[in-house]
């Protein structure tokens, strides 16, 4: 009485991991392959560049409304994430990469809830991984620049620990600092976005199925679509929150790692 076929139109399309690997559009088979998600990333980047250039083109001492709004966003990253964590001096050195990181993640996350784009640019591992590597390189660079070889000694053999405990502490520090940090940065962002996309697809495809297949067949079970649609709407709002939160968390952690590397002693 209810059709569950996948292949015919109007059947139920559950979310699948294949959605994160859409067919290539340009340059198929080359490292320059462009699929839908890559195009979304490039579009977001272009929009970000245009916005940032316009926002900072003619900044006045007494801001216009437009400038004040942009300054609020830029100032949030500048002051609340970077300067608050790293201080004024070191904050300026790492300002540009951290700011880039934040707005790129935020922009790519938001495409997950923007109609017709409907998938987050960060829901494929490339961008989270590249940004995590950037963070990794930055904090190691910061540590070596500040403390030279002592950076690794301070990181792996924290002072104030009895020497025999280094047998336990050093492997833990090695793994947590130099292995888990980039891995957790990557996976936290990636999985949040993948899960968010899955949830939204599930809710809205179920709604589609209930309304246009089940209800259209005259089965009142199809009214469950109202509930699934409501869930989808709520999760869309939730995804907005997640988009901002993940951008904040990623950038904040990257700043904290730099700050820890810059500290003389752990």
């Amino acid at each position: 009485m209810v059709r569950f076929t996948d292949d015919t139109d109007g059947g139920f399309h559950g979310p699948s991991l294949e959605e994160f690997f859409p067919p290539a559009i340009f340059f198929e088979g080359t490292p320059f392959e462009l699929n839908r998600i890559m195009l979304i990333r490039i579009l977001v980047t272009i929009l970000l560049i245009v916005w940032l250039v316009i926002a900072t083109r003619r900044m006045r001492i007494v801001p216009t409304r437009f400038q004040a709004a942009n300054e609020f966003l830029l100032g949030f990253v500048r002051n609340n994430i970077v300067v608050e964590t790293l201080g004024e001096k070191d904050g300026k050195r790492f300002m540009a990469p951290l700011m880039t990181m934040f707005f790129l993640i935020l922009g790519l996350n938001l495409t997950g809830v923007i109609p017709f784009l409907n998938i987050a640019g960060t829901s494929v591992i490339g961008t989270p991984l590249v940004l995590a590597i950037v963070s990794y390189v930055m904090f190691i660079y910061a540590g070596i620049k500040k403390n030279g070889g002592r950076f690794f000694k301070n990181s792996l053999f924290p002072s104030g620990v009895p020497w025999f405990l280094y047998i336990i502490v050093t492997p833990i520090e090695l793994i947590s600092t130099f292995v888990l940090r980039p891995v957790t940065l990557t996976l936290r962002l990636l999985m949040n976005m993948v899960a968010g996309h899955m949830l939204l697809v599930l809710c809205f495809s179920a709604t589609q199925f209930f309304f246009f297949t089940v209800l259209a067949d005259g089965n009142l079970i199809g009214l469950l679509g109202i509930g699934s649609f409501a869930f989808g709407a709520v999760f869309t709002l939730f995804e907005l929150l997640v988009a901002v939160l993940q951008a904040y968390v990623f950038t904040f952690l990257a700043a904290v790692y730099i700050q820890l590397a810059l500290a003389d002693e752990h």
Partner: protein, 183 residues
């Protein structure tokens, strides 16, 4: 019913293994945005924020300076006022002492004038008295002679003796008077 519908197709895709193009385009967009942010956005943002804080600090400093200037002007004004008051008091004091001096001088002059007037009046009185005495003496002499001539029936007018008699009489009278005054 639904679990059967949840046909999550697990084919040969592993979301944890990045495709080369994925890494490439991620790096490209990051570098592109990084260049714009580093070259354009951050310098301009910092410049604007610095300019603003400088403007605010400048404004505060200007206000402070204005306040200091106002305070200095007020102090100067107060000093001038005090000076003017002191000056006025000094002038008043001077005027008072001058006035007293003038008054004293005038009084002295008036006294001197009064004394002078009194002295000249006395001198005049004295002179007139002397003149009157002289003329009286002559009158009295002739009158006495006339009276005596009448009494004794003789003319004594041209007699030298008579004249000397009268003179002696008058001299005696005068001496007597002086003796009386001397007492």
């Amino acid at each position: 019913m639904l679990p059967a519908a949840l046909d999550v197709r697990t084919e040969d895709v592993n979301p944890l293994i990045p495709a080369p193009y994925d890494i490439l385009w991620s790096a490209v967009i990051f570098v592109a945005l990084l260049i714009v942010v580093a070259v354009y956005v951050v310098p301009r943002l910092n410049k604007a924020l610095d300019a603003r804080s400088a403007a605010i600090e400048g404004g505060l400093k200007k206000a402070e300076e204005a306040q200091a200037a106002a305070a200095a002007a007020r102090d100067e004004y107060n000093a001038q006022l005090a000076e003017a008051r002191a000056e006025a008091a000094r002038i008043r004091e001077q005027a008072r002492s001058d006035g007293q001096a003038i008054l004293a001088e005038l009084k002295e002059q008036a006294q001197i004038e009064a004394a002078r007037v009194t002295a000249s009046a006395q001198a005049q009185i004295e002179a007139e008295r002397a003149a009157a005495l002289v003329s009286l003496r002559a009158e009295v002499g002739s009158l006495a002679l006339d009276l005596a001539s009448g009494v004794i029936g003789e003319t004594l007018s041209d007699d030298k003796k008579a004249k000397s008699l009268v003179d002696r009489f008058l001299a005696d009278l005068e001496a007597d008077e002086k003796a009386k005054a001397g007492k």
